[in-house]
Amino acid sequence: MSTLRGFVRRPWRLAAEASALLIAVVVAFPLYWMVLSAFKPAGEIESSEPRPWTLEPSLDSFRRVFGQQEFGRYFVNSLAVAGTVVIVSALIAFLAATAVTRFRFRFRTTLLIMFLVAQMVPVEALTIPLFFTMRGLGLLNTLGSLILPQIAFSLPFAIWMLRGFVKAVPDALEEAAYIDGASRTRFLWQILFPLVFPGLVATSVFSFISAWNDFLFAKSFIISDTSQSTLPMALLVFYKPDDPDWGGVMAASTVMTIPVLVFFVLVQRRLVSGLGGAVKD
């Protein structure tokens, strides 16, 4: 572990730590404001003297948000979509990354480049062709139409990120496993998979966020059955460009951000080591 601190003079370190804390406050401020405004009563939010505290926290905004038709349903839908995307794309990406890193075959490099190029695609532009694909598959107005494209869009990045992890598992380990009589499948799932798991966790964060945040596809593919819609759409109901219900918007935002924060906190340590591993190459 790098030990720069041995060479940092005391006052500098104190200054550094003070700045770190100050910056942390600034960075966290928007989130604090969001949660604060969610709990402020209506009069206090829409006042020209906003205070960074409230002496009368109220659940009014949350009540409005949850009273909004089917908000709970939207939440569950978002969770279902994001969860499915995370699990399915992790599995598929793991298999694909293993294939491209631990095997040599023709087109291997080509495929890798294709996966890289795939990350460049501005996915919003694909909405119309995807609309017809979904229609052909009979998936319009279902969560499937949201899940499938998200899996596809998160795969290239996941595969690229996982390369480092998969590569890091030594060949010797694999040889030893085969000598011991393990089949290829056993090696894959019982040895390789657990070792690559931290990397999977890191990449799953990206898939989760991407699926959780999407609102363009929900807007375009869920037309007549609004019970299948997702959270970002619910949020925009409260946000009208010039007379937004700020309390409702902040309450809905808070509800929408919490699962992601929870997910992040849970995987925080793995995430840092994961990212370090992915770029170590």
């Binding site: 041995g6 020209s48 119309i128 609102f215």
Partner: protein, 293 residues
């Protein structure tokens, strides 16, 4: 690495290839196809037949001055975002190495919070912060009811703040991990030689962190070039008279608002090609660094 020719890798690749083929490659092919036809709402709902237009849509696009304006705006905006994000992220990464565990944890958690915030949510929160009537920023700076979203530059500035806020954590965490991997002897020696912090960064860390910095820069360029949600929400679909449009939002407006799907597709293709160029640059850099793909 197993060098026996087997079909195992293809078996493993099958699910990925099927999903990507059907949901990425095929739509891209369709995208290109649509851009060569006359494809507006009338065609889509069957009111009129589609007609082959060749490069007609592209000609129309390139002769429209708004397209070039939006292209320039996108390039400048993305550039500014990338530079700011990298600067903030790297600076904070170095800062993280100079502090003890507790402040480091606090800053990390704050950054993760910013990173975790969904784009839609972040956009509305920053809008509230800078709201002319109810926002704390105007109050603190004593600006009365100055509207940040009205002026073209100030609207872009506001969006840039949000984008940097939610993107710097990625840079910070990645670069920090990279610095931690640098052998301490090297840094010890430099510090003993009396090198300043900035000198250490420029002459030692940057070269050693090159692979990481490359990844982080390229990723930032790609993401910031494709920004959609923040612009769409914070400037209400592109700003007054479309002054805050970026390419991705412009394509969407052409396709869905004006129903000129073929024109929107043409813009999508242009974006794709530009990002492809960026990717090729990245690949060249990787190749030159001796990276084994």
């Amino acid at each position: 690495m197993r060098t026996r020719t087997t079909w195992t890798p293809w078996l493993y690749l099958a699910p990925a290839l099927v999903v990507l083929g059907g949901l990425l490659v095929y739509p891209i092919y369709q995208l290109g196809l649509i851009s060569f036809f006359q494809y507006t709402q009338a065609q889509v709902s069957g009111g009129e037949p589609t007609t082959f237009k060749g490069f007609g849509n592209y000609a129309e696009l390139f002769s429209d001055s708004q397209f070039w304006q939006v292209l320039l705006s996108t390039a400048l905006f993305a550039g500014a975002c990338v530079v700011s994000t990298l600067a903030v992220g790297c600076a904070l990464a170095v800062l993280l190495t100079r502090v003890r565990a507790l402040p480091r944890l606090v800053l990390m958690l704050a950054a993760l919070g910013a990173w975790a915030t969904p784009a839609v949510t972040g956009s509305t929160v920053w809008l509230l912060l800078f709201d002319p009537d109810f926002g704390p920023v105007n109050r603190i700076l004593g600006l009365g009811d100055h509207s940040w979203t009205y002026g073209r530059l100030s609207a872009f500035f506001l969006v840039l703040l949000e984008v940097v806020w939610c993107s710097f954590p990625f840079v910070m965490v990645t670069v920090y991990a990279g610095i931690r991997a640098v052998p301490s002897e090297v840094l010890e020696a430099a510090a003993l030689d009396g090198a300043s912090q900035w000198r250490i960064w420029r002459s030692i860390l940057t070269p050693m962190l090159r692979p990481i910095l490359t990844v982080v820069t390229i990723q930032s360029v790609i993401w910031d070039f494709k920004v959609f949600t923040q612009i769409y929400v914070m400037t209400n679909g592109g700003g007054i008279a479309g002054q805050n449009l970026v390419l991705n939002v412009y394509a969407y407006q052409q396709a869905f608002a004006s129903s000129k799907y073929s024109l929107g597709s043409a813009i999508g293709v242009v974006m794709l090609l530009m990002l492809l160029a960026v990717t090729l640059v990245y690949l060249r850099l990787l190749r030159r660094q001796g990276e084994e793909l």
